[in-house]
């Protein structure tokens, strides 16, 4: 699809995933047994025909850069366009504007930092702008078509779902055709829709509104661009009814991950027509040993399962020794659970090593998070 630029922002904003984001930002958090959160939006963009995607990096971006590489695994390593990794740019609109010493004031500041890049992308009429914390399989080509057909200035993706987090709330007309109002209220009003942080607009409009906002010292995208221009610019809502997850807290991370154990959710998220791409690791198929007992679980390549696994999500290369029992847990890449250990409601980051006969037990409301590379 020519003329459309994808932009994914990677600042954590309101998201706080504690230990999971100690060395990485939310988009780089492993999710769903073999992916990272950014893979979903990135794949939606590619699946929608977008061939140029800019990832705007902010901090702790080593993890994301390592994951994305040249973009080859998303088919974005191209001679013409493809993946653009935009490093953080501390900007100063003019010398009289004080540089805030690194503290981020809002999405607008990030976008102001890439204004030069945006101005440079002359062949792209439209941009699809997205937050980096959204797990979704979004038919972007449909959303784009409708945006263009409707003649709107901005299309806002939204869902009638309280779990959509803390974004702005839209009130739509009964036929869903018109946005009646946009509010900043935390609880979703009855019949309200929560914006998911994905917007479509013309590149020129984005540049114009960002430039205007930053010169007025305004930094909040939702408040200072969307809400401020509501009534002056034509805005439409694109309502999404499928499975999605906006990962904004450890609890949300855990529950959303566990929802993938439902085949209906998996069918929606992993569609054959719009596959989800991720970095390829070239691992062997999973080996289940003689005494392996695996039930109700999602298991990625490279795992060696010789013990019991139930109701869990296992990432690539996880090893479960004989007599080990893992239940209701999420074990990230390379985690090893040795003999006779028991894990229940545990989220283990990459390369955790649980030695023999350890017991780690959390609860559904508060799983135990074990940090990356930790030896227990």
């Amino acid at each position: 699809m020519k003329g459309v630029l994808g932009i994914i922002l990677t600042l954590d904003g309101n998201d706080d995933l504690r230990g999971l984001t100690l060395h990485r930002t939310v988009p780089s958090v492993p999710f769903g047994s073999r992916y990272r959160i950014i893979d979903f939006m990135l794949s939606s963009m590619i699946g929608g025909g977008i061939e140029d995607v800019a990832i705007v990096l902010r901090d702790r971006y080593q993890s994301l850069m390592d994951h994305l590489g040249t973009g080859k695994d998303w088919d974005l390593s191209r001679r013409r366009g493809g993946l653009y990794l935009l490093p953080p740019h501390s900007y100063r609109q003019d010398l009289s504007m004080p540089d805030n010493g690194g503290a981020l004031r809002g999405k607008i500041e990030i976008l102001a930092g890439i204004l030069h890049f945006l101005t440079h992308m002359k062949h792209h009429e439209y941009v699809v702008l997205s937050d980096g914390d959204l797990v979704i399989n979004l038919p972007i080509d449909d959303m784009l078509d409708r945006h263009v057909q409707s003649g709107s200035d901005i299309t806002i993706l939204c869902a009638a779902d309280e779990s959509a987090g803390s974004g702005i709330a839209l009130c739509l007309s009964p036929d869903g055709g018109r946005i009646v109002s946009i509010e900043e209220t935390p609880p979703l009003p009855a019949g309200g829709y929560r914006a998911l942080g994905v917007y479509i607009m013309k590149r020129s409009l984005l540049i114009e509104t960002i430039t205007e906002a930053i010169s007025g010292g305004r930094h909040d995208f939702e408040l200072d661009i969307i809400m401020r221009h509501f009534g002056f610019l034509k805005m439409s809502a694109a309502v999404f009814e499928g499975f999605f997850a906006k990962i904004q807290s450890p609890a949300c991370y855990f529950t959303s991950s566990m929802r993938l154990l439902d085949p209906r959710v998996r069918n929606e998220l992993f569609s054959k027509d719009r596959p989800v791409y991720t970095k390829v690791h070239d691992r062997a198929p999973v080996y289940y040993g003689d005494r392996a007992l695996c039930r109700g679980s999602l298991v990625a390549d490279g795992c060696v399962i010789e013990g019991t696994v139930e109701n869990s999500v296992l990432f690539r290369g996880v090893q479960i020794a004989p007599d080990a029992v893992v239940t209701n847990s999420i074990l990230m890449q390379g985690t090893v659970v040795h003999r006779s250990s028991r894990l229940d409601f545990v989220v283990a980051d990459k390369n955790v090593n649980v030695r023999d006969r350890r017991v780690i037990s959390g609860r559904a409301e508060s799983p135990v998070f074990v940090a990356k590379n930790n030896i227990v």
Binding site: P275, A284, P285, Y287, Y288, C294, R295
Partner: protein, 406 residues
């Protein structure tokens, strides 16, 4: 000094592999799925790239489309390179001489002398694309350079009973070869040629040209080139190999090799990341084992949905096993669907086949001694895309190439 094209590899992938029956009806043997995720050629290709050989000519001929599409630009094996890389080399129409199909392994290389000459290598590594093994070819090359041989042949010690199936090398104490016998009825040694050769390129070229001029030759390395070189007094060495190696040319050996991948002691560890086997990845989501399902002593690839019982089996990407179904000692290729309560034992079910509810395919070899079926062993084979209707019974050793309707 690093010389990028010191040694290039030529991978013979043109054969029909007819003893794999319906598995190679529409694709060359090296493209046949193996080990739950791979294709047979992945082992040789990965060995090349792990050994530092980045220029690989793949000589195709029989039903090459699947193989050609699979290899593509060579990117999955890190063979998409500025200098060198993976190249598909089919037979071609020539300018001023008669064109012909590849008549034999040596003829295939002969017809590609031009390709090899562009790289001006000192050595050429001739490989076949239909063996399962992990090998560091740089060690073979080092051995070859050290002994100053004109040709080094990788050798496997085989049992006396098996020796008559191979090209056997009779060697002196220093492993120099003084005699080479193709499938001898009374083998004089147990050192079998693995079909892996390192040649000094200029020397090989001479013999290829001479061989081409010999109209009585079958243009085969084992039958013609090696014996000619020996007769002319060229130095030929055997280089022993101690790891797992399997020629998967028959239904039986193909099934056995897949089952070997389920053993932790076979000698070939697919999970050993120090020598990865690369392949084109399916990109499917991770597989799901349902409550009430069983996966025991098996290999399961991405995208599978297991709701039944799977034991001692190899499952490729996207296989679905419905509740109540039992799969034992079998190989289920990509996209196979096994419906409710079906039973599959000692079988190979090829790509996209569907086994209907309550159907029974194959059976325990111990209880059903191998009949003289087309497969020559007790393994039952369901051809690609075949639909076996619900309740059908397919006996051991049968090859099903057409749908079985009620």
């Amino acid at each position: 000094m690093y010389k990028p094209h010191e040694c290039i590899a030529l991978l013979l992938a043109g054969g029909q592999g007819s003893r794999l029956l319906c598995l190679t009806k529409n694709m060359a043997k090296p493209a046949v799925p193996f080990g739950g995720k791979y294709r047979i050629i992945d082992f040789t290709l990965s060995n090349c790239v792990n050994s530092g050989i980045y220029t690989v000519g793949v000589l195709t001929q029989y039903e090459p489309h699947e193989l050609n599409a699979y290899i593509g630009s060579g990117q999955p094996w890190d063979l998409d390179r500025l200098n060198g890389g993976a190249f598909i080399l089919p037979p071609y129409r020539r300018g001023n001489t008669a064109s012909e199909w590849y008549k034999g392994t040596a003829n295939a290389v002969f017809q590609n002398i031009g390709f090899v000459d562009t790289y001006q290598p000192e050595y050429v590594l001739v490989l076949s694309g239909d063996h399962i093994y992990k090998m560091d070819y740089s060690r073979l090359l080092e051995n070859h350079k050290k002994t100053g041989a004109a040709c080094t042949i990788s050798a496997l010690a085989v049992s006396t009973e098996e020796a008559s199936r191979f090209g056997i090398m009779n060697v002196r104490d220093d492993l120099s070869v003084y005699e080479f016998e193709e499938k001898p009825k009374r083998p004089k040694s147990n050192l079998a040629s693995m079909g892996i050769y390192v040649f000094n390129w200029e020397t090989l070229k001479k013999y290829l040209l001479a061989d081409n001029a010999d109209t009585s030759s079958s243009n085969d390395f084992g039958k013609n080139i090696i014996p000619s070189m020996l007769a002319a007094g060229e130095r030929i060495r055997a280089c022993p190999f101690g790891g797992y190696w399997k020629d998967v040319g028959t239904i039986e050996s193909y099934w056995e090799a897949n089952m070997d991948m389920l053993s932790l002691t076979s000698g070939l560890d697919l999970h050993d990341d120090k020598w990865k086997i690369y392949s084109r990845n399916s990109g499917r989501p991770p597989h799901y084992i349902a409550h009430g399902a069983l996966a025991r002593h098996c290999l399961v690839a991405e995208g599978c949905e297991i709701e039944g019982q799977v034991e001692m089996s190899v499952l490729f990407p996207g296989v679905r096993v419905a509740p109540g179904a039992h799969v034992r000692y079998s190989i289920l290729m990509p996209g196979v669907r096994v419906l409710e309560n079906a039973v599959i034992e000692y079988a190979i079910v090829a790509e996209g086949a569907v086994i209907g509810a309550g159907a029974a395919v194959g059976g325990d070899l111990a209880e059903n001694p191998a009949p003289a079926g087309p497969c020559g062993c007790g393994i039952t084979v369901i051809a690609p895309g075949v639909a076996v209707c619900g309740g059908a019974r397919v006996e051991c050793g049968r090859l099903v190439a057409e749908n079985i309707d009620a």
